[in-house]
């Protein structure tokens, strides 16, 4: 069985989502299995139309900072989050949505991009995966 990478995506910040997806895609590219657990603010990004909506974790400056970073990213030809999450799925990555977050935040399955989500779960699913993972991160 392949080694695993398991990442909790608790933050909904754009830059942190980049970190999570780049690491996860790197793991898949290098032959590992990878799972992303979306919880709290992270889960907001799985709402329809929500993926690219996150603020910058620092220097957001009411959107000006994000706009500047975005421009620099485009210049450097950094892939969009949409492309990265598409690649993640294409390489067999697994996405889990935290059910408790859905309850707390009043998010229904139909509010989320159900096509991306493989499982709806709780901490038990995460621990089951994480305990047999070579890499586990909290973003």
């Amino acid at each position: 069985m392949a080694e695993k990478a398991t990442i909790v995506v608790q933050s909904g910040d754009m830059d942190k989502l980049y970190s999570a997806l780049i690491i996860a895609n790197g793991a898949l590219a290098m032959g590992m299995e990878a799972s992303l657990y979306f919880t709290f603010w992270g889960l907001e990004r799985l709402k329809k139309g929500g993926l690219e909506k996150g603020p910058l974790s620092k220097m957001h400056l009411l959107g000006l900072g994000k706009w500047m970073v975005r421009r620099r990213m485009e210049k450097a030809r950094v892939a969009s989050l949409e492309r990265l999450i598409g690649d993640f799925k294409a390489l067999g990555g697994k996405i889990l949505a935290c059910e408790m977050t859905m309850e707390i935040m009043g998010i229904k399955r139909e509010d989320l991009r159900e096509d991306l989500i493989d499982e709806y779960g709780a901490v038990g699913s995460y621990i089951k995966d994480a305990r047999e993972s070579a890499i586990t991160l909290f973003v």
Binding site: N25, A29, M30, G31, A76, A79, D87
Partner: protein, 73 residues
């Protein structure tokens, strides 16, 4: 035997690695995947991935900013 060409010139992290993996997933055992790129770190990291995937690295040619890597699945 098929030869698959992947052009990731101008692309940055993690796209070259991801496109390499996608091509390898589509390749059959024995097929050759050739990747052309310009991202310096990927020239080092694609061979690392090839080793991790236990595949055969046939060639790494060119400079850090203009390279060709050939892999046999």
């Amino acid at each position: 035997m098929v030869e698959i060409k992947v052009d990731v010139r101008g692309e940055t992290c993690p796209v070259p690695l991801v496109e390499m993996r996608k091509a390898l997933r589509h390749a059959a055992p024995g097929d050759i995947v050739e990747i052309i790129g310009t991202h310096p770190a990927s020239k080092k990291e694609i061979p690392m991935a090839v080793e991790a995937l236990q595949l055969e690295l046939l060639a790494v040619e060119g400079t850090d900013t203009d390279w060709v890597i050939r892999i046999r699945r």
